[in-house]
Symmetry: C2
Subunit: 205 residues, 2 copies
Amino acid sequence: MQKTGMLIVLSGPSGAGKGTICARLLERNPQLKLSISCTTRLPRPNETEGVDYFFKSDAEFMKMAEEGEFLEYARVFDYLYGTPRQYVKDQIKKGHDVILEIDVQGALKVKDKMDKGVFIFIVPPSMEELKRRLKKRNSEMEEQALKRFATAYLELDFIEKYNYIVVNDEVEKAVKKVECIITAERCRMERNRGMDEILKGGKSL
Amino acid sequence: MQKTGMLIVLSGPSGAGKGTICARLLERNPQLKLSISCTTRLPRPNETEGVDYFFKSDAEFMKMAEEGEFLEYARVFDYLYGTPRQYVKDQIKKGHDVILEIDVQGALKVKDKMDKGVFIFIVPPSMEELKRRLKKRNSEMEEQALKRFATAYLELDFIEKYNYIVVNDEVEKAVKKVECIITAERCRMERNRGMDEILKGGKSL
């Protein structure tokens, strides 16, 4: 049975550990495709077009934005970053599961456009632990860490928009939970309609 | 965070392999509780009250049935078998996940009463394979095997009432899928409401 893929969105507050979880998930599951973003910043020496990013001029990017070609986009300092809708849809059509690691604001925009995606909210075991992680990460940027911490509180209000919550107390346990969520979602009835007809028709699944 | 448990219903046509999957699942996950049925048949020498079955007289059983104390019940040859609602609810309240292995008719009755349960339909990889398994099981009962095979066709019509489909091509793979479904369901948003409030309140999850 030829199946289409799914969009899997890993999101949550800064410091919850979505980046680490995403990296380990991709390392262990080579069949998963990471969503490739468009950006207006210049490629760094080690970056490849179509692998790390799709590099665009400001004009190209804005044209795509106007034509609704982004699931979401945002400005980060001087540059624009966006998730191209067509790339994600093409991968899914080919049967690949696409992973998108994104902040809460971005995830909510994606959800408006692709509500059949699997939206996973990564939370820290406690806000105390989140604060510790943020401080560790930004030892010289106390102010920015505090700002991120304040934002995390606000972001918790959107938790109910997601399909799953994964508590990241230990990375390995959290990765296994995300892997299970992907396996389970592949078994969900809504993603397997027509199986009864295939069986009744005398074919194999 | 003190969580309640879930009801996990393993169902599907005779010969799909739900019994084998259930046995291996329980063996490997001692925290799962098997639902214990009530029956009017007499205990066999190796059977213990409250472990294998709750043994009831016909009168006791019928009184329970009239009082709505069964999630479902059915007559099998000369005896009555039923799934006691209270036992299942008590286990769930204590935080245990309860496994119920049951035929399609029974599962549909349970769904009417406990629609927050996780309903998993086990299918064979093909009907040809199902026939082979049924014949193997009932070498001297060709007629009964054919009857079960015909029933399996009819039961496929109810597949959409379930939450998940697991194809049992290899038992080990199927058991792992069911384990993942249980893990994923524990992470589902609807089963974790209030987590944001716990975090905001400065407590640990």
